[in-house]
Subunit: 162 residues, 3 copies
């Protein structure tokens, strides 16, 4: 069963196809909706009333606050130098690397296929454009696009205030 029993689900969480996700050891806030082909790892924290779109990957070390939109195919990262094995050639285990952290503040929106490097905070109400690669902290309400991501505007000037 791909929603493990150790997942802490808030009230009113909607998982459209529980047989097509892989959730384990994570916490999902009240009212959050989760699409298909989504993986959320242990110790990831998701707030209330978020939308987690299909094909996204949220790893250990990621904390997502309330009312955040995670687009289709968005992927987080928690290791800058990932390896399959140790320098001695053994399978790498949990003791062989350190989980890096990422925070996404309330009401931020992360666009389709964006990639989020670790050690960053994405500010409140920020908008990350489709296919952007976030490599540094994003100020509140900033609009970030491109590879690597750069700030090109303020989300409050592009739409109704939030």
């Amino acid at each position: 069963m791909p929603v493990e029993s150790d997942v802490r689900l808030g009230s009113g969480v909607v998982i459209f196809h529980p047989e097509l996700v892989n959730l384990y050891g994570c916490q999902i806030g009240d009212g959050t909706r989760i699409g298909s082909f989504v993986e959320i790892q242990k110790n990831a924290l998701i707030g209330k009333n978020c939308k987690i779109s299909s094909h996204s990957f949220i790893c250990e070390g990621v904390e997502i606050e309330d009312e955040v939109f995670i687009g289709h195919g968005v992927k987080f990262i928690n290791d800058l130098y990932p390896h399959a094995t140790t320098t001695e050639g053994n399978l790498q285990g949990e003791a062989d690397w350190k989980v890096l952290r990422t925070i996404v503040r309330a009401r931020a929106s992360i666009g389709t296929n964006a990639t989020i490097l670790p050690n960053v905070t994405i500010g409140r109400g920020a908008m990350i454009g489709a296919a952007a690669v976030v490599v540094a902290n994003v100020p509140d309400h900033a609009i970030v696009i491109g590879v690597p991501g750069r700030v090109i505007g303020d989300a409050r000037e592009r739409e109704r205030p939030r």
Copy 2:
């Protein structure tokens, strides 16, 4: 069952693993082949004899004509400013945003991991390169690569005429 009963399937449609897709309310033309981990949303239209590769996402508002190739991980978009919630903090519903449209003309090919912004038409026989981000209309037979996508040639000069 992740192929909902409201999907209108043409004759000879091949879905390699019906238990590993998420199709609902869409129309799929005769002879089209659909890979694994594919989501196709309601009101999406797919033509005849297309190939829809694994990990792709085709949203409401997208119309794909006949004989189109959709590469692995290709993702469409129908909202330029997506949000999880309304400005009042309620879960966003269908009345809170407008579906934007995308058209892919016959015999176009969209490369692996490409991201297609909405409000565009991709022309007949056009080729979108791997990982390209399409942000504007693509002329017939144009080759587009890069982020953001730009025209670099004519597909008819790179291969046998189609």
Copy 3:
């Protein structure tokens, strides 16, 4: 059953959710671990003690040596001009195109959401950055980032020697 009977699995291979992968006609080396929403096609070769992360796609024509890390959402390609149909409008079959090859040498690491064009060799111990697009051969131990990917350093200077 999405792990076909023609898959040659080494000893100690771990597939975390066999019902959420699509493996057919491929060879997986001893001790390799495979995440969810992974597709590995026929004639793909995967070495020993690799880590194949969720949402990755490994196609026919790809050979991955031992101790390689394949990040989340990584996608390989085996056709530069993919099409759904032939010039005559018939569904394209195996006789209508030629599989291009890609080699990933031992101990290389390929970052999240990277896209790997075919006809390349990624060298031993090389590191491909998140969301990079690899379009040319990568020397041993090179660090490659960007779109298109370019060499920016030597992995041996960024971490403990491997």
